[in-house]
C-alpha cells in the first residue's frame, strides 16, 4: 500500500513532461500556429523582410513575430559555461583547502559558512547581482551594458559553488587515509599527494558535482532573469553584452501571452526542451560516475 505513495515521484516526473508537452505539441498541427511561425524558423536562420541576410532572431513582439530559439540557447550556454568556468576551480580549490590543509578549527567554521551560501534563495542572489555586483563591475571594468552575461555568470557561480564544493569536499574526504600514507612513504610532498593521489581518486565524486552544478546553472531562472539584461542578442563571444536565457524568456514572457497563442506554444516548447536537456544531463552524470567508478576500482 505504501508502494502507491512511492509511485508519486515517478508519477510527478511523468506528469511534468506530459502536461508541458501537451501545451506545446498542438503547434505541430495547428494551422494558426503555422501561420505565425514555422518549425523550421524556430531553429534555422531566416532572412526576414528588412534584413539583408539570414539571422537568428527572437522577437516575439516584432512585426512579423520572430520565434527563433537559437539566441536563447546561445544565451543560456554562454552564461552557464562562464559560470562553470568560475565556479568549478573555485569550488574544488575550496574543497582541497578545507579537506587537506585547514586545521580542524578553521574547517568547522568555514565549511558551514560556504554551505550558508547554499541556503541563499536564488532571487536574493539575483538581487545581489543586480544591485551590487553589476555596479561593482561597471565601476571596475566600464562595461557598455550594466547587466550582461558576465554579471549574470558571477551570480550563477555563487549559486553553483556550494554544490560543487560540498560534493568535492565529500569526495576528497572519502579518499582512504592509507593512500595518502602510501604516497608520503614514497617520499611525496604534500602538494604531490593532493594533486597526484587524492584528487584523481576523488574524481568520480567531483565529476558528479560538476554535472550536477551544470544542470543547476542551466536551469536557474531568477538570477539570470534579474541580472543578464534580457536582450535576446545572438552574440557568441562577447561576454559583456546582455543576454537572454531560455529560462528567463519563459519566466518573463509567459505572463504576457494569451493561452493557446503561437507564442504560448513556443514558450512551452522551450520548457519541454529545457526539461529534456536537464534529464539527459542527469543520465549522463550517472553514466560518467558509473564508468569512472569501474575504472578506479577494478577493470
Amino acid at each position: 500500500m505504501i508502494a502507491v505513495f512511492a509511485l508519486a515521484a515517478i508519477v510527478a516526473i511523468v506528469l511534468i513532461f506530459v502536461f508541458i508537452a501537451r501545451q506545446a505539441i498542438p503547434m505541430f498541427w495547428e494551422t494558426d500556429f503555422a501561420q505565425e511561425a514555422s518549425l523550421r524558423d524556430l531553429f534555422f536562420a531566416k532572412q526576414w523582410p528588412g534584413y539583408d541576410h539570414p539571422v537568428f532572431v527572437w522577437q516575439p513582439v516584432g512585426e512579423p513575430e520572430k520565434f527563433n530559439v537559437v539566441p536563447l540557447f546561445v544565451g543560456s550556454l554562454k552564461v552557464t559555461l562562464l559560470a562553470m568556468f568560475m565556479s568549478v576551480p573555485l569550488g574544488i580549490a575550496c574543497a582541497i583547502f578545507l579537506a587537506l590543509y585547514a586545521p580542524r578549527a578553521v574547517r568547522e567554521v568555514v565549511k558551514p559558512a560556504i554551505e550558508l551560501l547554499a541556503g541563499v534563495p536564488s532571487v536574493v542572489l539575483g538581487f545581489f547581482a543586480l544591485m551590487v555586483i553589476a555596479s561593482w563591475a561597471q565601476a571596475t571594468f566600464g562595461f557598455h551594458f550594466r547587466l550582461n552575461a558576465f554579471v549574470a555568470a558571477i551570480g550563477l557561480a555563487l549559486a553553483v559553488v556550494p554544490v560543487i564544493f560540498t560534493i568535492a569536499e565529500d569526495a576528497i574526504q572519502s579518499v582512504p587515509q592509507t593512500l595518502q600514507e602510501a604516497a608520503l612513504a614514497l617520499g611525496a610532498r604534500k602538494y604531490q599527494v593532493a594533486l597526484r593521489v587524492v584528487l584523481p581518486a576523488a574524481l568520480p565524486g567531483i565529476a558528479a558535482g560538476v554535472v550536477l552544478g551544470f544542470g543547476r546553472a542551466v536551469g536557474e531562472t531568477m538570477i539570470v532573469l534579474m541580472a543578464s539584461g534580457n536582450a535576446a542578442v545572438m552574440e557568441l563571444f562577447d561576454f559583456t553584452s546582455s543576454v537572454r536565457t531560455v529560462t528567463a524568456t519563459i519566466a518573463a514572457e509567459l505572463g504576457e501571452v494569451a493561452q493557446g497563442d503561437a507564442h504560448w506554444r513556443v514558450l512551452f516548447l522551450l520548457g519541454v526542451m529545457l526539461f529534456a536537456v536537464t534529464f539527459v544531463l542527469n543520465l549522463i552524470g550517472d553514466l560518467i560516475i558509473q564508468r569512472l567508478h569501474k575504472k578506479l576500482t577494478a577493470s
Binding site: L90, L212, G219, T247
Partner: protein, 299 residues
C-alpha cells in the same frame, strides 16, 4: 612537515579561493543588513504596502509566504515520507520499482524551477483546475482554473519532494538494524515496526528534512510567478483559491518592474533581509537538529 614553494602555491591558491567566497558572502550579508536594517520596523512588518508598492509595509508578503509554505508542507511531507519509507523499509535494494523511483527522484531534483512553473500552469491550473471548473462551476469566470495559493503550494510540494525523500531516507538508514530486528522478532508486522519503532527514532532526522524543504520552498520564486503570486493585492488571501503576495516575488517585482528603482531600494533591502532571516533561521534550525540527531546515535 616542510612545505616547498609548490606546496605554498597550492595552499595559497586554495586559501585565496576560500577567502574570495567568504568575502563575497560577507559583502552580500553586510549589504543586506546595512541597507535593510534601518527599514525594519513594526510598521514595516505589519502593514500593507501603499499603492506605489514602496511605502508602507510587507505584511501581506510575509503572510502569503507563510500560508503557501504551510500548505506546501501539508501536501508534500506525507508523500515524501511515505516514499522514503517505501525505499528504505519495503523495497529490496535491487527491485526494479525502487530503482525507477530513485531515478525519478534524482531527475525531479534536477528539474529547473521554471519548468515547475510551467507544470503548475499546464497541469494544476489548466488541467485539474480547468477540469474542476467544467464539472463544478456554472459561471464564465474560472474559480478553480486560475492562479492561486492552492496550485502554487501543490507545485512547490512537488518541487521540494526530493529534499524530503532524500533526507528522510538518510534518517531512516541511521536507525540501527537491531531495533527493527527486535520489533519483528516480537511478532510485529512491518508496518507496525515502521510506525512504532523506526519512524519515532528517525524523528529529528525527518524533521531536519522537513525544515530544509520548507526553507527551500519559501525561497523559490520562479515556480509561483504564474501560479499565484501577485504584485499587489489589497486584501489578505483567506481562501486557497485566492492569489497571494510573497516575499521572494516581491523582491523580484520591485527590482525589475519598479518605475523608480532607487526609491524602492530601502524597501527592497528590507524585504530581502526579512526573507534571508526566515530562510537562514530555518537552515540553522535544521543544522542544529541534524547535529543532535547524529550525536544521539554516536555511542
Amino acid at each position: 612537515m616542510k612545505y616547498t614553494r609548490k606546496d605554498w602555491l597550492l595552499v595559497g591558491v586554495a586559501g585565496i579561493s576560500v577567502g574570495v567566497i567568504l568575502l563575497i558572502l560577507a559583502v552580500l550579508l553586510g549589504q543586506v543588513v546595512f541597507n535593510g536594517a534601518p527599514v525594519i520596523s513594526m510598521e514595516f512588518l505589519t502593514e500593507s504596502p501603499g499603492a506605489d508598492m514602496v511605502s508602507g509595509g510587507i505584511w501581506p508578503a510575509i503572510y502569503g509566504t507563510v500560508y503557501v509554505t504551510l500548505l506546501m508542507t501539508l501536501a508534500g511531507v506525507p508523500v515524501g515520507i511515505a516514499t522514503a519509507v517505501y525505499l528504505s523499509e519495503y523495497a529490496s535494494a535491487s527491485s526494479r520499482l525502487a530503482r525507477l523511483v530513485r531515478l525519478a527522484v534524482n531527475n525531479l531534483a534536477g528539474v529547473p524551477s521554471i519548468v515547475f512553473g510551467l507544470f503548475g500552469l499546464g497541469f494544476f491550473i489548466i488541467f485539474v483546475g480547468g477540469g474542476m471548473d467544467a464539472l463544478l462551476n456554472d459561471g464564465p469566470t474560472p474559480v478553480w482554473g486560475k492562479p492561486s495559493i492552492l496550485w502554487a503550494s501543490l507545485t512547490l510540494a512537488v518541487l521540494t519532494l526530493p529534499v524530503v525523500i532524500v533526507t528522510t531516507e538518510e534518517a531512516l538508514k541511521r536507525v540501527p538494524r537491531e531495533l527493527r530486528d527486535a520489533s519483528l522478532a516480537l511478532g510485529a508486522t512491518r508496518f507496525q515496526t515502521v510506525y512504532k519503532v523506526v519512524l519515532p527514532n528517525a524523528k529529528s532526522g525527518i524533521l531536519t528534512g522537513v525544515i530544509l524543504a520548507v526553507s527551500r520552498g519559501a525561497g523559490e520564486v520562479a515556480p509561483i510567478i504564474f501560479c499565484g503570486a501577485a504584485n499587489f493585492l489589497p486584501y489578505l488571501p483567506t481562501d486557497p483559491r485566492d492569489m497571494f503576495m510573497h516575499l521572494g516575488y516581491h523582491v523580484y517585482a520591485l527590482a525589475t518592474q519598479s518605475p523608480n528603482v532607487d526609491a524602492a531600494r530601502p524597501t527592497l533591502f528590507g524585504t530581502v533581509l526579512v526573507l534571508l532571516t526566515l530562510t537562514f533561521s530555518l537552515n540553522l534550525l535544521a543544522v542544529i537538529l541534524r547535529a543532535r540527531s547524529r550525536a544521539a546515535f554516536r555511542l
